[in-house]
Symmetry: C2
Subunit: 458 residues, 2 copies
């Protein structure tokens, strides 16, 4: 502790025992909180570099933490390790309107960034649902969210990084440009590596023009297969939806009942509908958005929607917020685990039929919603028996992989999903990733227990 | 030769001496052609795997080649090595309209892919100018082109790969989805690695709806600084231009004179204009495109354009084609080398002022055009003396780096730009990249001489 404090003058250094309990966990369901040996709140990159050089020399594990809103346990500290908390490195360093980039420290939250960009008519288009999340955490997990159908995910917005390597060297990757073909893309390799390759201390984010007009359509369908079938038509119609979400019967009922949503869907339709598609359009003029709403409604009707509702703004906002908060709804309802499998979007209904079968086989209850536009399925799994639940989770992930998908679309593997992934993934790729890990972090100090080691499956 | 033929039954195997001279080079200016020891034209991934396993065991260099249209010498073979030519692996394996992806073999050309997509109302939006280029080559160099201002570059479109590792193992990365947070992103690491990490045998490409209506505006400006100043306004206006190019006085004069372009710019304006901005807009309806053209014209006029011309379709096509063929114009005019530095787009005019100064200092002549929307500057360098030219090139790259840019935006380093890059890049990053290279290719058989070794600077 004294050595750390001397190495990082200006940083707040405490023992793990003195740190607030909030720092012992993130939002991963069922993961055990861990008290680290020490907590450092750096105020500058050099302090992070000094801490990492020290940790590397002494073989001490280091875990980086942003806001702690992660859902896979990647920010859970190591009991013998140092937790580096970025709450004191939370500055928006620059908003460069000419190059349309923002330069941020890792502790900046999505909420603060959005508040700074809105008055300038700009947007950072990654909206993963939890806006108290930090940009550093978003970079670590390659956060996605509802607008990926139009804008892609975090990795598509990260143009460059400042990062500290395990030995304490500081590197800068990329820059304020979209194009680059000058050596290996270290930026893209570090994005999504969940703090296991390097610790990010600054990011250059791509900004986009903010479309001031938005409208939301809600379409009930008789089956999820019809919802899945409608998606390509919606995406390919040229209306360029910025969200395209499905919500299943059970999740919709929970939203309506628990949150008191008023969506204007008459009872007889609610009884006939097994799934809903929510489509959001946006634009620079009211007129164009009106036109796109009309076209989207036509496409949805042609695709077999039972009806199409253009929601009043307050209902639309409430629905989108409810959708964003679906995790909290699941947690509040006592879900035992959550899943964010990604599959090709054409396979969502096949996947969900399989899920229903697997849930029945495991006497579990599974409900969900998801990003229909990009095949990212969010499920809440209710089965209190750990062994049966793990068997179900394993089967769900195997089914996703069989359909051409992956274990996690946006939450990351962290400590709670890595074991499932390690079982399913091609051993040749895992060996290659281990060699890449060793190329960055030969002593294995960066976030051990996450991604490449089977962590703590709840 | 006999061993190779036995290992890869079905593949055409010839000696380098028997191969057509075209296979000894790509389009890099001034690079020396090299006759390889052997040439293999595989017809299937297993043959590539067998060849790589053999090469790895015997320490034989392997160079992959698509159409050979590269501009940095990454496809130039090694004299003791095997050249793997993908002209027999050139199938479009699938166009999946539901997931909006195409699955292609590396030898497929952009031209053929576009012809297959157009009737379906889809587009693969990377247009790097040379449409006989192969997708395999595009993946290797992370090809860019004019539409990057709207759609990004190759890496933004590549969702997954099949690739053969140095030892002959075949891996599959990514899939038919945009989101993924399941381990390190091998796809993005292999894209742009110029055949030094793995040999790509299949790619999953993201497709977009094809906008059938397009219009082109041409705006002469008194100075390049005004062109650079106009770009953020154009990009941020919400018209979402799909191209935003500048052309300097000299390049425009060469295009008009040598290609007989009729652009309707009166002589007095041509005399006053030092640079031109070309803006392309596209959309799903004629009406919207008309509206965007009017808005773009207003933005350009406000930004100080001397005039704004909405080009008739045939003139627009001729101008864009001329711009795409600027490399051939440079080659035909006897350029000694070419540069595709990328800088933050706000720094283009600063960079170009510096370039003029450096050219004068080196008694050289430099002209160019570039992707104003994304800061990618294309220059033709005329200075026949190799030593002075290299000194000028070094200075140009150093200036680009000083302004926050990189050596190559889209051509890659290959063999002809790697020496400059190795001089300028942070040694900590180069060492890290060498360790990554060793993680993939411990014996160094994949494209030695490119990227991480100072190749043959012309």
């Amino acid at each position: 502790m004294a050595e750390l404090a001397a190495l990082a003058p200006g940083a707040l250094v405490t023992s793990g025992a003195d740190a607030p309990p909030d720092l012992t966990h993130d939002e991963a369901l069922g993961a055990e909180p861990v008290v680290p040996a020490a907590v450092v709140h750096p105020t500058a990159t050099e302090q992070v570099a000094a801490v990492l050089a020290y940790a590397d020399t002494h073989g001490v594990p280091v875990t980086a933490r942003g806001s702690g809103t992660g859902l896979s346990g990647a920010a859970i500290p190591h009991p013998d390790g140092i937790l580096v908390v970025f709450d004191q490195m939370a500055e928006i360093l620059e908003i460069d309107e000419a190059d349309m980039v923002a330069v941020v420290q890792p502790g900046v939250t999505l909420e603060r960034l959005d508040a700074a960009l809105a008055p300038r008519g700009l947007v950072y288009p990654v909206f993963p649902g939890e806006y108290s999340a930090s940009l550093g955490g978003n970079v670590a997990t390659n956060a996605g969210g509802m607008r990926a159908v139009k804008y892609g995910v975090t990795r598509h917005q990260i143009l460059g990084l400042e990062a500290v390597l395990a030995g304490g060297q500081v590197i800068r990757t990329g820059g304020r440009y979209v194009k680059g073909s000058s050596g290996y893309d270290l930026t893209q390799l570090i994005v999504g590596s969940e703090g296991t390759l390097a610790v990010v201390t600054e990011a250059i984010l791509r900004l986009h023009p903010r479309r001031p007009h938005q409208r939301t359509l809600l379409a009930p369908f008789a089956t999820l297969a019809e919802v899945t079938g409608a998606v390509p038509a919606v995406v390919n119609s040229g209306i360029d939806p910025y969200l395209c979400e499905y919500i299943d019967l059970v999740t919709m009922a929970a939203m309506v009942d628990q949150l008191g949503l008023e969506l204007g869907v008459p009872p007889e339709l609610r009884e006939a509908a097994l799934a809903y598609l929510v489509v959001g359009v946006e634009g620079h003029s009211e007129e164009r958005v009106d036109d796109d709403v009309a076209r989207a409604a036509g496409v949805l009707a042609d695709a077999g929607a039972l009806d199409v509702f253009v929601l009043p703004d307050h209902s639309a906002d409430a629905l989108i917020e409810a959708r964003e908060k679906a995790f909290w709804l699941a947690k509040g309802s006592g879900a035992d685990d959550i899943v964010d499998v990604v599959v090709p979007r054409s396979r969502i209904d096949t996947f969900m039929s399989g899920v229903a079968r697997l849930a029945a086989d495991h006497e579990a209850w599974v409900a969900g919603c998801g990003h229909a536009g990009d095949g990212n399925v969010h499920l809440s799994v209710f089965q209190p028996d750990a062994q049966r639940r793990r068997s179900l989770m394993r089967a769900l992930f195997a089914l996703g992989a069989e359909l051409g998908g992956a274990v996690s679309g946006e939450h990351g593997l962290g400590r709670t999903k890595s074991a499932y992934w390690l079982e399913l993934e091609d051993p040749a790729k895992i060996e290659l990733m281990r060699r890449i890990k060793a190329a960055f972090d030969p002593r294995g100090i960066l976030n051990p227990g996450a991604v490449l080691t089977p962590g703590d499956t709840p």
